[in-house]
Amino acid sequence: MAADKPRTLFDKIWDAHVVETLPDGTALLYIDLHLTHEVTTPQAFEGLRQAGRGIRRPDLTLGVIDHNIATDASRYSGIVDPESRLQVETLEQNAAAFGMPLIPLLDKRQGIVHVIGPELGRSLPGMTIVCGDSHTSTHGAMGALAFGIGTSEVEHVLATQTLLQKPAKNMRVLVEGTLPFGCTGKDITLAVIGRIGTAGGTGHVIEYAGDTIRALDMAGRMTLCNMSIEGGARSGMVAPDETTFAYIRGRPMAPKGEALERAIAYWRTLPSDPGAVFDREVKLAASDIAPQVTWGTSPEDVAAITGTVPGLETAGDEARRAQLQRKYEYMGLTPGQRLQELAVDVVFIGSCTNSRIEDIRAAAAIAKGRKVATGVRALVVPGSGLVKEQAEAEGLDRILSEAGFEWREPGCSMCLGMNPDKLTPGQRSASTSNRNFEGRQGPGGRTHLLSPGMAAAAAIAGHLADVRDYQPKETL
């Protein structure tokens, strides 16, 4: 590529990682960081074993256990479910056999893979980062190219530290203006998905830009990039800036001293050049965003909390009407129903989308001095042991416990129904996670996605509620 052609953030990171371009245009792309967890790796290690291969760069590989584990005290006495236990033990054995660094299950640095990477200072700007998990896009908030891969690709990266990839198209989501009261990164991402649809970003990498994005803290940017996959994009990114550099400084695995200054000098060259061409651009005015909540079984089924369940007349043709009918039935909704009428059984605050200290603070601010409504089970699951420790140092666990929330151990928890935390059929949840698919939080479970503040408000109200009506009674 000609050096004088304006390039995007994605183009620059891509170009810097092409080892070789094959005749058909497929690139052999170098991977700077490979994160692994127990669910999507056992078959990859088995493949290595069968082929007599090893891990090319164990020092660029980091494992953690997050999906399977219980988030109550039972984790300290071993994993009860035999299949979960086998999967976790398999990762531990593979890490030992192949020399892969693995954060031990009971280490305080243990947590959700997409929380710990940035938190430990391991995920850095300009990197290519992959993990066998679609929400790897989270790390794009650091100004990295980060995307989820399948298990065959996990094996490919373990063996070669590269991936065979075709370049993605560039898409820019530009958000300008001051984010209204009560809105967060979660509301931006839900509003974007509502606009572009769940397949709107397919084949693209999304760069989030504009002064609204610049004003977000790193946690907000991570929430935003995290859900890029729900808009079909494999990756979301935010250009690194002073907020990013300040976040990185002092983190345990981040470069330090002169190495850090040299890195920052390089990272400053990464933002998209003026005049760089995007294949697609979507613009949103921050002032148009209100606190969002999903009503259906796809993240694109989203509305403002003041809204209603859309009616059948919004469906274009018969197939879409049938699909809408099915959503009403599965979710137990009536067309035209006010969203704030929907009573919730469970509130889940956690997941790689919203389990960082900022998210816990936002929930605690709403919870302080109030009580969870009778009959509602509300869980707060910090994203890592370090988040938990920080929250406890700030007294947030006590505020939440006094309000009637369960304060849990870190893990993926109720995001995906593969550990003991799950919904029972027909239960309705207000959840800060990322997917409201049928059965995602447990068979028959009904999920409404929203921000941590909105989730806390729902817990207190006992139904979906507008966070703007539940502002802090006092500052924390």
Partner: protein, 206 residues
Amino acid sequence: MQAFTTLTGIAAPMPRANVDTDQIIPARFLKSIARTGFGKNLFANFRYRPDGTENPDFVLNQEPYRKAEVLIAYENFGCGSSREHAPWALTDFGIRCVIAPDFADIFHNNSFKNGLLPVKLPRAVCEQLIEDAKLGGNARVTVDLARQVVIRPSGEEIPFEVDPLRKHLLLNGLDDIGQTLEHVSAIDGYEAKQKSAQPWLGGNSL
């Protein structure tokens, strides 16, 4: 990897958009450490009722679709998680080809690595193929990867696009790690260059 050349078989109609990976194989069935055995839980939340019995209304519980080798659906097939268990569950059940207007990126990638051919055809064509599929066992569809055509029961041939490299790997059942390792000296060279230019990138020490 099992090669995919040509296939003539029963197609199951699934006229739905956004068939996500949690539908294809729910997360609670991802705990196996093997690549096989996921077929019995393919579409588990649709296929089985809460008491574990088969739901007779679900297409894959009906004859002749229990033996379907092709699945026809609508937009954004395979959206959601990166789980390769989704193509593993489909192939373990016996499905070797999914036809839809478009696919989510990761599922699309994963399919090619497991001998499962994703074919993109316009919505209107998918609607026709779904009508064909509803005719059942006497209306088999043929998918010919070498010639890049889907052949309807009527004999009408519908061409489709496929990436040439992926086609080559799939036709020959080739594992791409072996291919990449032929470029190992280029990878060595890249690492040496990167080590001096960006020394901060190396090294985990827990």
